[in-house]
C-alpha cells in the first residue's frame, strides 16, 4: 500500500486471518496455508454428484471449482442482507490452490451479500503470501475472489 492511500478494510474474519499470516515468517506462512488446504471441507453431496453446477476457475494453475449459494434472509430483508455460502473443490495435488480456497471460505462463508461485495479486490495481497508463493501464483486467488463476487451479484440480484 502506498502511504496516504485509503485502504478498504477486510471483513473481520478475513482480517483476522491476514493478521495471523502477518505475524509469521514466510516459511510458517506456507505451513499455515497448508493447514487451510488440509482443512478445506469436502463438497456436500448435492454438488459432488453434480459437477455441472460448479464454476471452473481457469486462472488457477490447477483445476479449482467453486459455487456460491445465497440464502434468503426472509421477506423483510433486502437482498444485501442475505447470507452467502461458499463451496470449493480442488484435488489434493493442488495444495496451494486448496489453501487459497480455504482462506476465502473461512473468511467469507456466512457473511452477507453486502459484506462479500464490499471485500476489496486486492484482498489476496494482504496475507503476505506473495513472498512465500510468488505473485504469479497469487493470481489464482484474485480470480477466485472475483468469480465469487460475480456469482454473488448474479444470485442475489444485489
Amino acid at each position: 500500500m502506498t502511504a496516504g492511500q485509503v485502504t478498504v478494510p477486510l471483513p473481520a474474519a478475513l482480517d483476522e486471518i491476514a493478521q495471523d499470516f502477518a505475524a509469521l515468517s514466510a516459511r510458517d506462512r506456507l505451513t499455515m496455508l497448508l493447514d487451510f488446504s488440509d482443512g478445506l471441507p469436502e463438497l456436500p453431496q448435492r454438488y459432488s454428484a453434480h459437477a455441472e453446477l460448479l464454476e471452473r476457475v481457469d486462472e488457477c494453475q490447477s483445476p479449482l471449482f467453486l459455487v456460491v449459494e445465497v440464502e434468503s434472509a426472509g421477506d423483510a430483508a433486502t437482498p444485501k442482507e442475505a447470507t452467502v455460502r461458499l463451496f470449493f473443490q480442488a484435488p489434493p495435488e493442488a495444495p496451494t490452490t486448496r489453501g487459497f480456497a480455504g482462506i476465502l471460505r473461512e473468511g467469507l462463508d456466512g457473511l452477507t451479500v453486502g459484506e462479500v461485495l464490499a471485500v476489496p479486490d486486492d484482498a489476496p495481497y494482504r496475507f503476505g503470501l506473495a513472498e512465500a508463493v510468488s505473485p504469479l501464483r497469487l493470481r489464482g486467488m484474485v480470480a477466485m475472489l472475483s468469480r465469487i463476487k460475480r456469482q454473488v451479484r448474479l444470485k442475489s440480484a444485489a
Binding site: L33, E59, E93, P95, G99, A132
Partner: protein
C-alpha cells in the same frame, strides 16, 4: 563424493545413463542411509509450491523454481551468490550427487536440473517417473522436513551460452533445427496459452518460423517415465529427421516443458548442442516485429 550410478538396464541404452535413477535405486539409497548425507541430496521441484509440504520422499528437501531459482526482480535465473546460498543451505556441496524429482512428469525437476547445469553442477540426476511413480508404487511419503547441515557451496559464475538461447540467438537460428514442445493448439496459433494456464498467455498465437511441433509428452510413457532409447530415436531421429550433431533450440511457453525435451535430447539421445529458449512463447508471442508462423485453417 559422487554416488555410484544406477545400473538399471533400461538406462544403459541411453547416451548418458548416469543422469537417471529409478525409484527402486532411490529406495535402496534411503535404506542404506546415503540420502541426506554430503554424498547424496534428494530435491523435490514441483509446480505447486506446497505439494512437497503435503508429503514427500523421506529425506528429500524442497527447491522451488519460482522462489529459489528465479531472480525476484529481473526475468532471469539467480546469480552465483544466490545459487550458492540455495544449494549450501540444502546441504549440497559442489561434489554432492543431486537427485531431483517432481510433479507433472518431472517438468519442474528437469527445469531445476537445467538451471543446475547453467552453473555446471556436475552430478545431477532425475528420478525416472518422478513423484507420481513413487506415490503410485506405494512407497513411503512423509511430512517430516529433514534438517540439513549447511555446507559451503562455491560461488560459481553462471555459464548460459552452451545450453541457453536468448531471443536474438533464436532470431539468428531461424532456418536451423528448432523444436516447439507445446500442445498442437498452441503451435498452430489456435490457443494463446497452454490449456488450463491462461495466466501465461501471449498477444500473438503461432510458432517460430520453421519450428517442428513435437509436444514434450511424446517423450514420456504413461507412467511418466522416459520412453526407451529406441522409441525416442523413432520420434526425434527417424520421424523428425534430427541428428545428434545438429544445433537445436527447444522452446515452450516459459521454458519448463522444453527443459524436459532438452534433457531427452541431451542426456538420453546424446545430442551435442541443444539450447533451451526459456523466454519461449511468453517472450516471442509478445515481442514486437519478430516473425511468426500460423498454421493455415
Amino acid at each position: 563424493m559422487a554416488v555410484a550410478v544406477d545400473a538399471n538396464r533400461k538406462f544403459t541404452d541411453y547416451a548418458h545413463p548416469e543422469r537417471l535413477v529409478s525409484t527402486g535405486w532411490l529406495a535402496g539409497r534411503l535404506a542404506d542411509g546415503t540420502v541426506g548425507t554430503r554424498n547424496l541430496v534428494v530435491l523435490e521441484s514441483d509446480e505447486d509450491v506446497l505439494l512437497y509440504d503435503t508429503g514427500h520422499i523421506p529425506g528429500a528437501v524442497k527447491i522451488d523454481w519460482h522462489t529459489d531459482l528465479n531472480d525476484p526482480v529481473t526475468r532471469d535465473y539467480v546469480n552465483g551468490e544466490r545459487f550458492a546460498q540455495v544449494l549450501g543451505e540444502r546441504g549440497i556441496g559442489r561434489d554432492t550427487t543431486v537427485v531431483i524429482y517432481g510433479d507433472k512428469s518431472n517438468w519442474w525437476a528437469a527445469y531445476a536440473l537445467w538451471v543446475f547445469t547453467l552453473f555446471a553442477h556436475e552430478d545431477v540426476r532425475l528420478l525416472d517417473g518422478g513423484r507420481a511413480k513413487w506415490v503410485a508404487e506405494g512407497r513411503e511419503i512423509t511430512r517430516e522436513v529433514p534438517s540439513q547441515l549447511p555446507v559451503d557451496y562455491p560461488v560459481v559464475e553462471r555459464n548460459d551460452a552452451p545450453i541457453r538461447a536468448f531471443k536474438d540467438d533464436v532470431l539468428a537460428h531461424i532456418g536451423q533445427p528448432m523444436v516447439d514442445v507445446r500442445s498442437p493448439g498452441e503451435f498452430s496459433g489456435e490457443l494463446l496459452h497452454m490449456p488450463d494456464y491462461p495466466q501465461e498467455g501471449a498477444m500473438r498465437g503461432g510458432h517460430i518460423p520453421g519450428a517442428r511441433s513435437v509436444p514434450w509428452a511424446r517423450a514420456a510413457a504413461e507412467d511418466g517415465t522416459f520412453k526407451s532409447r529406441a522409441d525416442l530415436e523413432a520420434i526425434y531421429l527417424t520421424e523428425q529427421g534430427l541428428a545428434p550433431s545438429d544445433d537445436v533450440v527447444a522452446y515452450c511457453r516459459i521454458g519448463e516443458r522444453s527443459s524436459h525435451t532438452w534433457f531427452v535430447l541431451t542426456h538420453l539421445l546424446g545430442f551435442e548442442k541443444v539450447r533451451n529458449y526459456d523466454g519461449s512463447w511468453t517472450e516471442w508471442g509478445n515481442a514486437v516485429r519478430v516473425p511468426i508462423e500460423v498454421d493455415a485453417k
